[in-house]
Amino acid sequence: MTTPAIQLPAPAPLLTRSGWSAFIVALIVVCAVAPVLNLWVPAGSALHLSDYAVALLGKIMCYAICALAMDLIWGYTGILSLGHGLFFALGGYVMGMYLMRQIGRDGNYQSDLPDFMVFLDWKELPWHWALSDSFVATLVLIVAVPGLIAFVFGYFAFRSRIKGVYFSIITQAMTYAAMLLFFRNETGFGGNNGFTDFKRILGMPIATPTMRMTLFVLTGVTLLGFFLLARWLTLAKFGRVLQAVRDAESRVMFSGYAPLPYKLTIWTLSAMMCGVAGALYVPQVGIINPGEMSAANSIEIAVWAAVGGRATLVGPIAGAFIVNGAKSWLTVTAPEFWLYFLGALFIAVTLFLPDGVVGLVKKLKSRKSEGAAP
């Protein structure tokens, strides 16, 4: 298809030299520095990383995975999903089911069934719990369940060319419907209370510092891995088509590309990433309930991506850290101001920072270099 007049730029390296060094530093911090500071530096020391901080950072890294997934579908493909909270929660629920089975007979009722089922007077596990005692099956389902739902939904939505705001609203409706469903007791997901009181994972106690650190490292490595994957995808031809779809979908079609497989692939992949994030989130936080599927959560994911900067991969990760850091600080010091702050953030980012924090930094940098050049 290329004509001599069009010069495609040479494929960019996966990461620049400084990019690689930053990546490796991040990897070392997550895998070595944080565990040492948390587990071996004594609690009184100034360098000690508290358990609270580990839990918080672990949680935010899960959110960052969601923001990255959101960036792939929104920043690069231009499809704003308000359903990513659902995929996150689905991954979390799959993990939660496994953790509930791991409780075994240690629950309040000393039964093989999870407590809430005993409470509902159920005699056996419902069909969708069949695979929940196998860890391998759980790992598969964590990506398969959100992936399958996203695939089916996306296939029908993209095939009939639902796009823009329509798509956003329909994904929101889907999430809302799922939330109502999970709130029901008879669907077998613990109703209002969801799953909690986890005791073990893979037979090991879940509430120990070592296990918390292991999950933290696992989350960090997953995040960095997903970052590389996203980087690779967006640099490849696949990513270029996605960006073309975002900028002018009809032209992409006129050029002979069918957008459907591209959109569907990135949509499904994005949902799977959210599922993984949810599955890592639940054992660290210790609870999953239908509240995770509320519309507010899904929209917040979009804001993390927007604050950091859309269509930059570092941006959404930074955005997740900035917004959630502010949240955990503000909800403690001035809880009544948190919603004002979040609301103002939504408005400010859309009005004044269309390229997010990363865009702002870039702009400042280029202004500086311009100032230095002449």
């Binding site: 939904f153 409706a173 469903l181 929209i299 919603l339 859309t350 009005l351």
Partner: protein
Amino acid sequence: MFPSLFPRLIACLLLLCAAVQAHALTAESARAMAAGDTDDRIAALQAAIATPDEATIAFIRAMGEDAVKIAGEKAIVIKDDKGLDPVTGAEVPVPDDAEDIVNNNRMRGEFDTALASLQLMSTEIAERRKAIDALREETDEARLPLIEKALAAEQDAALKTHLESIRARILIGSSDPAKRLSAAQHLAASGNPATRTVLLEQLRSEEDPKVKAALQAALKTVEERLQWGERLAAVFSGISLGSILLLVALGLAITYGLMGVINMAHGELMMIGAYATYVMQGIVQKYFPGAFDWYLVAAVPAAFMASALMGAVLERGVIRFLYGRPLETLLATWGISLMLQQLVRSIFGAQNVGVENPSWMSGGVQLMENLQLPWNRLIIVGFALAVLGAVAFLISRTRLGLFVRGVTQNRPIASCMGVNTARVDTYAFALGSGIAGLAGCALSQVGNVGPDLGQGYIVDSFMVVVLGGVGQLAGTVYAALGLGILNKFLEGWTGAVLAKIAVLVFIIVFIQKRPQGIFAVKGRSAD
């Protein structure tokens, strides 16, 4: 207990005594009612109330209040520490060895029913209605003579029907198959849900084949009639929900449908309208307590103005910078909605506030025994239609409407014609927001008013607009009513939550087939 009722009862009973050969309370019957074996006492009581006189009633009431003593063979009523003869009313000395009468719970129940039965003879229709209501579930055959007597005396047609069905219900438990048969035939005419239960119970134990057939036939008729009531009730609550959705969606039809602004804060504008109603209620209550019933007259424009003003501020301050960027608008307005919610929480507190119905909105129209249309719902349906008419008029007949349509169809050309497009945008957005305020005012009359009032409706209302098609008032109307009725019908069938899910799934599937809604815009303006 019933000070004002008492003289009337006496008057009524005097008449009755003249008509029926009443034998007045005697010392023996009083003694028999007051002491002895419970079964004997009940028998005596029922014999006495079959032909009551004033002394009997006073005596029964006294017994119910434990104000009767037994001295030897004589019953004495104790009133203000003095002994009264139950028959003559004359003062008698109370012997020291007089014993209190002992009433077990069964006996007390008998006293209460006896008094209720006697109320059936009241000249006051309200009293009789109360008494009939109390007897509704009665199946004791011993009440039969009394009810038949009341039936003979009853003039009011509605009460007469009730009495007849009570009689039939008692008769249906009778040991005489002929009586049961006629009772079954009679009950077929009833539309009372309780009748179904009675018929079903009797059917279970019935042995006589003829009666059984009659019972089955009666059950079928009753069930058919009840079903009609239920169906109509579902249609009505569907229309009622639809009218609320319509009010909510009408504002969106302007801001989203015509202007293309995704306003996630629409629900919060409704909330502002509801709170404006609440504030207006407070003002009227404080300064014009006499006019409290009419506070809504002031609240409707207040709600409209409050929300319209907020809408104008939002449009000027935020939304106008985001025209043509729908996804960004979505996020920014979501942020606005969060701030408005928190604002209301800071001012009014996180709890729901109480908005009362004016007295003329309580109660309802009783169409069938199991179908009542509440006034507040009826009024909201009417209100929704009125708002719809006003909006339709405004959009299609006025200069502002013309400008709005012109600007949405082709902004540059409208601008060339001298239309101040920026101002038209503000007006149109304020109008849509004001209608949201009206919806909030209406909602305050049927639901809770709290900071998250808007959240529950936002998904539904967007569904209405999406389903109805963008830029279409007619589509909005059909979609709102259709969704409302569909929702309520499914609710009766599958329960509220599953109904909601089913409706959402239906919309998602429907959008697959017709991405532009029910009424697609045809031609070049479609994309």
